[in-house]
C-alpha cells in the first residue's frame, strides 16, 4: 500500500469555525484560474500532448451489431502483419466481471461486464484490440481480424425490453445486483420510496393532475476525446496517463480488474479538456490500454476518434416519467407520485443511481407530506448510459417542473406563486433514499430569494411585451431546481498541506480538475487560512502517486468535500505553525496570530511565513522542522444548491419556430468562493441544459446503429444560438461548507428544459412534453388546436 492509500475510515469531524465572510483575502475573490494562462495560450499539456514516438499505436475493433455472441475470433492473419505487436480478445483478458462505474468499490451497479465481453450488447462495443508499431499496421490488423458473430435479437425500447417475448441481455449470473433486479426481463433495478399516505393524499385533493414526459439521449461532448496512454515503468509498475475526473478511483478499478496491487498502479491526470460526467467512469479504452501495455510490456496509446466517442461513450439516460399530483384549490400540494422508466442501455453502470437521482432531487424541492417514487432502470441494446452533469435530475426536473406549471395552470394560480407556496425552506429535509442519513434538515436554502431575484431580473409580474405583429407571441417560463454537494456517506477526500521552506504552501489533494477550476479553489481555500496570495500556493492534484485518496470530481462534490478536506489540512498546518512559534517564544499557541502571510507572536517580532519556514528548517531555535498539516472529509451531509431559472421565448405561430430570447439564472450556491468561476459554471450549465432543450439528441436506427456520422450530425448548440443570459448570485451561508460554500457545477443544467417548455406554453398555449423541443413539435401542437 502506498503511504497515501486510504479508504473512507471515520465519520466526519466537525468543521472548524468559519472565518467571518468579509475578512477574506483570497476566497470570494475572482482570482485567475491557476491553469488559465496555460490553457488559453495552448501551453497546457493534455493527455496526448506528450511525445509518443516510443508508443505503440493501439486501436479497438468494435462490434457492428447491437446484440451478438462472439463465436470465435481468428487473429492469426492480424498477428502476422508486420509491425503488429499484440492482438487481444476476451480470451486474453481476465474473466472477472466488474462495473466501469466510477464510484468507490463496490459501486451501486451490477458487475455485469468484462473488458471484452463474449456477448456484445451495443454497436461499437469492444471486441478486440491491436497494438502495432505503425497506425497503418493497426488499421490493416483490424481489418484482418475475423470475428464469427452469432447475431442475436436485439431490443431498443425499454418498455419492450421488460416484456416476455424479448431477448434477455444478461442471462448469465452476476454479482452486486441492485434492488429488485430482474435480469431475465432486463430490469437492472426496481425501486420504491414512499413517505406519508398516498391514497389519503389523493382523497384530500381538490384536483388531480397527471402528465407524461419524455427525455432523449444526449452526450456530454467534452472537447477532448477519451484518451489513454499506458506503460510499464522501470520498477515494473503500470502507469496510465489518461483523461479522467477520478484518478484514484480509476487506479483502484484498474488494479482490481487486472488483479495487481494498487501500489503498482499510477494514474496521471494531466490537464483534461472537459468531463461533464463522462470521465467519472473507467472507460473501456483505459482498461484496454492497460491490457495492451501489460501484454506487450511497452507503451501503448489509444485515443478515440470523435465519431467513436459519439458512438460509444456513455450518454445521458433517456427516461419516460409519469407524474400524478393531488392539489388543493389554495395551491397546497397534497401528494405526488412520480414513476420513472430509465433506459440504461447495454450495461447497468449508472442505471440505479441516475434513476434515484431523477426522482429525489426534483421531488425534494416540494416537501409535501405524501410522496411516492416508483421506478426502474432497464437494459436495452444501445450505448450504456453514464454520468452526465445533472445526473438524472435533468430528466426529473424537466418532468416535474413542467408538471408543476401544468398543475398551477389547472388551479388558476401564477406558476411562481404556486412554487413559492410549496417550495422547500430552511430547516426542512430533502427527499432522499430511505437508507440515507442526508435527510437532515437543510441549513441554507435560498429558493425564495432566487425566485424573487429571477422574477425581478426578467420583469415577471409585467409579463413579456408582445410584438405588434401577432404572428409572434412571447412567453415567460420558470423552473426551480436543486442539486447536491457530493454523495453523502460515500464521498471522501484527504488533503496534505506542506509549508515549504520558502514559506509557500504545497497542497496535495486528489481532486480531478477537468477545467472547472478545482485546483484554483483548493489553492484559494488553503491560502485563505494563512492570509496568503494565491500565487504562494501550489496545488498538486494530477497524480495518484503524489496525492492522497480523493473520490474525484463528480456529484458536485469537489468544493464542498475536497474543499473541506483542504480547509482542515490548512488549519491543521496553521495549528502546527502556532505551536512551534509558541515554543520558540514560550507563549500560548492561541496567542500567536496568523494573518496576511505573517506569524505574529505576542512577544517578539512578527515575521513573514517565509522567514518562519526558513528558520524552522534551518533549525536555529531547535530541531529542524518542516511542517505538514492534513485533513480529511467524509460526511453524511450533502448541502443543496438551488436555482430559479426563467426563460423568455418568442414563438412564430405561423411556422412553430421559436427563439429563447432571454435566460435568467438565480443561484444559491452558498458563498461563491470564486465568483468568476461560479458564473462560468452557472452559464455553462445553463447552456448545456439549453442544448438538450432545443436540439441535441442521439438516435439509433432500428438495427441499433447510432445515427451519427460525426460531430456535424450532432446538433450541439452554438455560441451564436444563445440568448442573453443574466446571472444572479443569491449567496447564502452554508455552515458546514468551506467558507460557507455549497456546490454549483450541476444545478443550472436542470432547469432550462422545463423553463423553455413552460415559456412556450405561456406564449402559445401548447405544452411540449418530450425533448428536444423542436419547431415541428410546436407546429404540430398548434395545428391540433389550442
Amino acid at each position: 500500500m502506498s503511504q497515501y492509500e486510504g479508504e473512507p475510515e471515520s465519520a466526519d469531524e466537525t468543521v472548524a469555525e468559519n472565518d467571518a465572510a468579509d475578512s477574506n483575502v483570497t476566497v470570494r475573490e475572482s482570482v485567475e484560474k491557476v491553469d488559465g494562462w496555460g490553457l488559453v495560450t495552448g501551453n497546457a499539456r493534455y493527455t496526448d500532448d506528450v511525445p509518443t514516438d516510443d508508443a505503440l499505436a493501439g486501436r479497438v475493433l468494435r462490434s457492428p451489431h447491437a446484440h451478438a455472441r462472439v463465436r470465435s475470433i481468428d487473429t492469426e492473419a492480424a498477428e502476422a502483419i508486420e509491425g503488429v505487436t499484440a492482438v487481444i480478445t476476451h480470451e486474453d483478458v481476465s474473466e472477472q466481471r466488474f462495473t466501469r462505474t466510477g464510484f468507490p468499490h463496490p459501486a451501486p451497479a451490477p458487475f455485469d461486464e468484462r473488458v471484452f465481453n463474449e456477448t456484445v450488447r451495443h454497436v461499437g462495443e469492444p471486441v478486440a484490440a491491436v497494438a502495432a508499431t505503425t497506425v497503418d499496421a493497426v488499421e490493416r490488423a483490424l481489418e484482418a481480424i475475423e470475428v464469427d458473430y452469432k447475431v442475436l435479437d436485439h431490443v431498443l425500447d425499454p418498455e419492450a425490453a421488460m416484456g416476455s417475448d424479448t431477448p434477455t441481455l444478461h442471462p448469465e449470473e452476476y454479482e452486486n445486483q441492485q434492488e429488485n433486479a430482474d435480469p431475465e426481463h432486463n430490469v437492472v433495478c426496481e425501486t420504491r420510496h414512499e413517505e406519508g399516505d398516498i391514497e389519503a393524499g389523493f382523497e384530500a385533493a381538490d384536483e388531480i393532475v397527471e402528465g407524461e414526459y419524455k427525455t432523449q439521449i444526449v452526450q456530454q461532448l467534452p472537447m477532448e476525446m477519451n484518451t489513454a496512454i499506458a506503460w510499464i515503468d522501470d520498477r515494473q509498475r503500470l502507469v496510465l496517463r489518461t483523461t479522467t475526473q477520478v484518478p484514484h478511483i480509476c487506479r483502484a478499478k484498474i488494479a482490481r480488474a487486472f488483479d495487481i496491487d494498487r501500489t503498482d498502479v499510477q494514474v496521471i491526470k494531466p490537464r483534461v479538456g472537459g468531463g461533464f460526467g463522462v470521465r467519472q467512469d473507467t472507460v473501456p479504452i483505459q482498461y484496454i490500454a492497460a491490457a495492451l501495455a501489460l501484454e506487450t510490456g511497452e507503451k501503448v496509446r489509444l485515443r478515440n476518434e470523435r465519431k467513436e466517442d459519439l458512438h460509444v461513450s456513455q450518454t445521458r439516460h433517456s427516461q419516460t416519467i409519469q407524474i400524478k399530483t393531488g392539489v388543493r384549490e389554495d395551491g397546497t400540494i397534497m401528494v405526488m407520485h412520480v414513476d420513472i422508466t430509465s433506459n440504461t442501455g447495454a450495461y447497468g453502470c449508472h442505471g440505479f443511481a441516475v434513476l434515484e437521482n431523477a426522482a429525489h432531487e426534483p421531488l425534494s424541492v416540494y416537501p409535501c407530506e405524501n410522496r411516492l417514487f416508483t421506478g426502474r432502470a432497464v437494459y436495452t441494446n444501445v450505448t450504456p448510459g453514464g454520468a452526465m452533469r445533472g445526473y438524472g435530475a435533468v430528466q426529473g426536473t424537466f418532468a416535474l417542473e413542467s408538471h408543476v406549471d401544468k398543475v398551477a395552470t389547472e388551479i388558476g394560480m401564477d406558476p411562481v406563486e404556486f412554487r413559492r407556496r410549496n417550495a422547500i425552506e430552511e430547516g426542512e429535509a430533502s427527499f432522499e433514499p430511505a437508507s440515507s442519513e442526508a435527510m437532515d434538515q437543510l441549513q441554507s436554502v435560498g429558493v425564495e430569494e432566487c425566485l424573487e431575484r429571477a422574477c425581478e431580473s426578467i420583469g415577471w409580474s409585467d409579463g413579456p411585451d408582445q410584438p405588434a405583429n401577432d404572428r409572434y407571441r412571447c412567453g415567460y417560463g420558470t423552473a426551480l431546481s436543486m442539486a447536491k454537494s457530493g454523495v453523502p456517506n460515500s464521498e471522501f477526500s484527504r488533503c496534505n498541506v506542506t509549508l515549504e521552506t520558502d514559506g509557500t504552501l504545497t497542497v496535495r489533494v486528489g481532486v480531478g480538475d477537468t477545467g472547472q477550476g478545482s485546483e484554483t479553489v483548493m489553492g484559494q481555500i488553503a491560502a485563505e487560512v494563512f492570509g496568503l496570495d494565491i500565487n504562494s500556493v501550489h496545488v498538486k492534484a494530477d497524480d495518484t502517486d503524489a496525492t492522497p485518496w480523493d473520490n474525484g470530481a463528480y456529484a458536485s462534490s469537489t468544493t464542498y468535500v475536497s474543499g473541506n478536506a483542504t480547509e482542515k489540512a490548512a488549519r491543521d498546518l496553521a495549528e502546527k505553525v502556532r505551536d512551534l512559534a509558541a515554543d520558540w517564544y514560550d507563549v500560548d499557541p492561541e496567542a500567536v496570530e496568523l494573518a496576511d502571510g505573517e506569524v505574529a507572536p505576542p512577544r517578539g517580532e512578527s515575521m513573514t511565513l517565509s522567514e518562519f519556514a526558513e528558520e524552522a528548517f534551518a533549525g536555529i531555535r531547535g530541531p529542524k522542522r518542516r511542517l505538514t498539516g492534513s485533513g480529511q472529509h467524509y460526511t453524511p451531509l450533502s448541502p443543496k444548491p438551488f436555482a430559479a431559472q426563467i426563460a423568455a421565448v418568442e414563438v412564430d405561430t405561423e411556422t412553430g419556430e421559436f427563439e429563447v430570447t432571454n435566460f435568467v439564472n438565480a443561484v444559491d450556491c452558498g458563498q461563491a468562493l470564486n465568483p468568476a468561476n461560479v458564473r462560468g459554471q452557472i452559464i455553462g450549465g445553463a447552456i448545456m441544459g439549453l442544448g438538450q432543450t432545443v436540439s441535441e439528441a442521439i438516435e439509433f436506427d432500428e438495427d441499433g446503429q447510432p445515427e451519427l456520422r460525426g460531430l456535424r450530425d450532432y446538433e450541439v448548440i452554438h455560441a451564436t444560438d444563445l440568448p442573453e443570459i443574466d446571472t444572479e448570485l443569491v449567496e447564502t451561508h452554508e455552515p458546514t461548507g468551506p467558507f460557507g460554500a455549497k456546490s454549483v457545477g450541476e444545478v443550472t443544467t436542470l432547469g432550462p428544459p422545463a423553463a423553455v417548455a413552460n415559456a412556450i406554453e405561456d406564449a402559445v398555449g401548447v405544452r411540449i412534453t418530450d425533448l428536444p423541443i423542436t419547431s415541428a413539435k410546436i407546429w404540430d401542437a398548434l395545428q391540433g388546436g389550442r
Binding site: 412564430d652 412553430g656 436540439s695 407546429w779
Partner: protein, 285 residues
C-alpha cells in the same frame, strides 16, 4: 474505420493542366476549398485515387460585371461574394445566399463552384443560382460550354457537369429585385431556403423565378408561385397572394426526411419563407 487518404495529391497551376489531369483518370477529383469533398473522403464515401488541387489557379478567381451580367470565378469564396458591393447591387439574392453559408470559416474556405458542384440539398447558393437563372461555364478537353441553371441540377448531389469538365465561371444576369431567405437547423445548415427574382416592367411583374432548397434532394422552382406573380402589380395583395399560392409542385412523398422538421411543417416553412423571399425581392430597388 479511420480516414483513408488518397494516394496522390497534386497541384494544377492552370485550367488546362487541371482539365488534363481530371480527364486522364476517372478516379481523380478536383479539390478547391475542400470543405465538401474532404469530409466525404474522411467518411469513406468518396474514395478518389488522386486529388487535383486547383486552389492556386489565379484565373479562376475574381468578380466582374459587364453587359448586365456578373461573372464570378469558380474559386471565388462565399465570403468574397457576400462582401462584394457589385454582387449586392446587381444580384442581391446571390450575396444573401453566400452570406447565409455556415460560419465564417466555411465562408472563407468554401467556393461557389465547389458548392454548386457538390449540390447538397441543404446548401444555400443553389436555390439563388436557380432563381437567378445563372449559368455555369465549364471547360473540358473538347473546349468550353455553358450549362444553364434549369439543366444544372439532375439529382441528389448530381449535376450536368461531365467527369472531365472543370468549372471556370459562374455567370448570373442582373436581378436587382431578388432575395434569399432561409431558416436553419442548429447545425447551421438550411432546413428550407428560398430565393425569388422578379423582373419588373413599370410596376407590374413581367417575369418571376422562385426556387427553394431543402424540399427535394435538389433545388426546385415553384412554377405555380411564379405564375401567381406574373402580370400582377406590386402591392400588398401580391404579397399575400404569393404566400397562399398552392404549392402543389412539391410532391410530399419525395420530401427530404432528415428528422429535424417533419414534412407537413416543412411545407409551411416553404410557404412562409417563399413569401419572405418575394417580399425581399419586391423591396429591391
Amino acid at each position: 474505420m479511420s480516414e483513408q487518404l488518397p494516394a496522390a495529391y497534386v497541384h494544377a497551376d492552370t485550367v488546362d493542366k487541371a482539365v488534363e489531369l481530371v480527364s486522364a483518370d476517372a478516379e481523380t477529383r478536383v479539390v478547391a476549398g475542400g470543405y465538401s469533398l474532404l469530409p466525404q473522403v474522411k467518411d469513406g464515401i468518396e474514395t478518389p485515387d488522386r486529388l487535383v488541387d486547383v486552389s492556386r489557379i489565379d484565373e479562376l478567381r475574381g468578380i466582374s460585371h459587364e453587359a448586365g451580367e456578373t461573372c464570378i470565378g469558380a474559386l471565388t469564396t462565399h465570403h468574397q461574394i457576400a462582401t462584394f458591393d457589385l454582387v449586392h447591387e446587381h444580384v442581391p439574392a446571390l450575396a444573401e445566399a453566400a452570406d447565409s453559408v455556415g460560419d465564417y470559416q466555411a465562408r472563407q474556405q468554401g467556393t461557389i463552384a465547389g458548392n454548386l458542384v457538390f449540390a447538397d440539398p441543404k446548401y444555400d447558393p443553389p436555390a439563388a443560382f436557380l432563381a437567378l437563372d445563372g449559368r455555369v461555364v465549364a471547360r473540358s478537353p473538347d473546349g468550353e460550354r455553358t450549362i444553364g441553371a434549369d439543366e444544372w441540377f439532375c439529382g441528389p448531389g448530381e449535376t450536368a457537369l461531365g467527369p472531365d469538365e472543370i468549372v471556370t465561371d459562374v455567370v448570373v444576369p442582373d436581378a436587382k429585385r431578388s432575395g434569399y431567405v432561409r431558416t436553419s437547423e442548429y447545425s447551421g445548415y438550411a432546413i428550407v431556403g428560398t430565393a425569388a427574382a422578379l423582373d419588373v416592367d413599370g410596376d407590374a411583374v413581367a417575369s418571376a423565378r422562385v426556387a427553394v432548397n431543402g424540399v427535394k434532394p435538389f433545388p426546385i422552382r415553384l412554377p405555380n408561385v411564379e405564375d401567381e406573380l406574373v402580370g400582377k402589380h406590386i402591392d400588398d395583395e401580391l404579397r399575400s397572394r404569393a404566400a397562399s399560392a398552392e404549392l402543389s409542385d412539391i410532391n410530399l412523398e419525395t420530401l427530404l426526411m432528415n428528422g429535424v422538421v417533419a414534412d407537413h411543417q416543412r411545407l409551411q416553412l416553404v410557404r412562409t419563407y417563399c413569401r419572405q423571399a418575394i417580399e425581399r425581392a419586391i423591396e429591391g430597388d
